[in-house]
Homo-oligomer: 403 residues x 2
């Protein structure tokens, strides 16, 4: 292994924003500043899109106070992109890197970002260009392989858990059926976090549906009816990627039945369509009057002032560690390993190969989901609870003894 080159570095943020992706960014910047091998620290505007267009800002010039505000801010402070670069795209990136003597590439994002780092690293090797490429994990879906969990998940889980704590109290006060649609097209980790705030036996969510467990409309309605008959109310958490018994997503099925509006335009199957469809099913088939549905949408990933402290700290550590690895190795992805026993939570970092993370995704393990396919297990709660970093205590009085 050659010693670390004296050269410039670039950092980018890719994919959907999270509450702590900027903490990872600041982790990269603050660690990079400590290493004389790294000269200018460029920030790529809008990820790979800014790299091919040669659009950078100088991150070394930002004051420590501003960096702390950045670290606490949701979304991607450098801007992001949905581009999925191929080898040709990455060779154009490499040309820009060569022109600017960029030999350190830090890319914060999901599995696509790990793949981009892998391709850039590969085309650099082919060009005999001495360069180091590291991926820093990020996703609210928590669906990356190898790592125990992903930065971004804990804060989103905290938001969803709090939303359900509040929504369950709301539903106790005004009973009925409430359906909440939560992010997660393929993995149910975030929807499962809806259950983290449950304390009393009859706390909601009473039913949790994730993409890993297909469910027919009939089964769904039967579950809802059973809870409603028992409690006089029901709070239900549903992944946006929930599938019918045949494996097809409900969202897609609903879109196929979309009608044209009076102006002849196709009605968009928008963010509220799945929630409204489920509410209509319950209302029409179970004859329950008070049925409401909310779709949490972008709030889950971008709500400010509500980071999980554990998540923010880990995101920053991942950013710092990427720089430390780059001082010694060519490429890799930063991953987290859980340490400590059941009572205390700890986490340590390790390096994994980019191709171990690239393009693939992780689903919830069977042990996190109940046998009936409509709830989570204690094992899941033990897994996710430390990541949310503490939930608010609440109290409800109407169940106290009558006098």
């Amino acid at each position: 292994m050659a010693s670390a080159p004296k050269a410039n570095a670039v950092v980018g943020q890719s994919g959907g924003p999270t509450a702590v992706i900027n903490a990872s960014l600041v982790g990269v910047i603050e660690e990079a500043k400590k290493h004389p091998e790294i000269q200018t620290i460029y920030g790529a505007r809008h990820a790979v899109a800014g790299m091919v267009k040669d659009e950078f800002i100088d991150l070394g010039k930002i004051s420590p106070a501003t960096l702390e505000t950045v670290a606490a801010s949701p979304s991607s402070a450098l801007g992001t992109s949905r581009d999925k670069p191929d080898a040709a795209y990455c060779r154009r990136i490499l040309e820009v890197f060569q022109k600017r003597n960029i030999r350190y590439f830090f890319y914060i994002g999901g599995n696509d970002s790990a793949n981009t780092a892998y391709i850039v690293s590969t085309v650099a090797k082919e060009a005999n260009y001495d360069m180091r490429a590291f991926h820093v994990p990020k996703t609210v879906d928590n669906d990356l392989l190898v790592t125990d969990h992903c930065p971004g998940y804990g804060s989103a889980a905290k938001f969803v858990a709090c939303a359900l704590i509040g929504d369950d109290l709301d539903n106790r006060a005004l009973p009925g059926v409430k359906i909440d649609v939560i992010m997660g097209r393929h993995a149910g980790f975030l929807t499962a976090a809806a259950a983290l705030g449950k304390k009393r036996d009859d706390d909601g969510p009473h039913l949790v549906y994730v993409p890993e467990r297909p469910v027919s409309i009939g089964k769904f309605l039967g579950d809802v009816e059973a809870v409603y008959k028992k409690l006089g109310r029901a709070v239900i958490a549903v992944s946006e990627g929930i599938c019918d018994a045949d494996g097809e997503t409900w969202a897609k099925k609903i879109a196929q039945t979309a009608e044209k509006d009076p102006h002849g335009n196709i009605q968009l199957s928008g963010t509220g369509a799945l929630a409204d469809f489920l509410a209509a099913q319950v209302k029409n088939n179970l004859n329950i009057k008070r049925v409401r549905a909310d779709t949490f949408g972008y709030l889950q990933r971008s709500f400010p002032g509500f980071q999980s402290p554990v998540d923010a700290d880990e995101a920053r550590r991942c950013g710092r560690q990427a720089v430390l690895y780059a001082m010694e190795q060519d490429n890799g992805s930063v991953a987290m390993k859980r340490t400590g026993n059941g009572k205390s939570y700890g986490m340590e970092l390790f390096r994994t190969e980019l191709k171990n993370v690239a393009e693939k995704t992780k689903s919830m393990p069977d042990e996190f989901l109940n046998a009936d396919g409509n709830g989570v297990t204690d094992k899941f709660l033990e897994y996710a609870m430390p990541l949310a970093g503490g939930l608010p205590q609440t109290e409800y009085l109407a169940g106290y003894p009558k006098v």
Copy 2:
């Protein structure tokens, strides 16, 4: 005026939950405990519904520590009801009050609750029953008359302002058109709070539509197109009660065009319908690819751990003051008056007649809305900012100078 009777008290919570209605409840309880005239402090389960059914809990037995948790909890800890009692209903309530020697009635809620307190007070007088009835204001919509603002509004405003801060950062990172539908069927105060977090000239929301200013689809699309052409993105806050130029709500018009689904059921015009409709309009008519819409739903009123400190404090003071007034007068509603100059914020309480608040609602004054009907004025920001009680600082880097 007769001296305050030695008797029992009841407190109830009505209408939709808020983040601080339980702070008002605890204010009533803690003040009531100080007055020997008040013996048992009953809590009515599910508001007037519990009163007619004689379903009460004993609030005097709850520990101070639990009461603090209650005060910090969203939703209505006693449960609530949408019943709108008439005189006959209130006479049944009075029978229960007489049976239990309840002579203090504290009712936390909106204009309907003030009306209920008024009717109960009237039927008590008719029955020569010495009783005191006080209304404690509560609403996220901020639409009560007389009072400068309502407990519950500040926390909901903080939630909406934060949501838009995050959503605007999200939209900067991944540009496109983003539409957020916010609570408020008749009054636009909560939707207007979307603008509280704006700092930079190009910060969103770039357009704000409230029920007080009807807007046609053509005008709406023209506004969106103008912002999008200038900034390459647009963030838009819309009240759920937004009206077309003819004064009819868009929500109602959309419901009228609802189609049947393949099973022959009428599709419910659910919470996401307005947002999806607006997104489809923008997508189809302006040929903009990335258009997203969220409907914030119940999160706005029931999110835990996110009270405005100012709002929580004022809600509690209103509860305490209702008890103090009841020691000296027959009935009334607690109202807030703003004190201090533009730089410092202060608030003092006063009593107003129940019938001044009952049944009527307040709209946003003209001076809070811009001439074009698509934004708020500085006067509104000065009015609402202190109530939200502080917003998180954020930073965005991609706009920094290119190097």
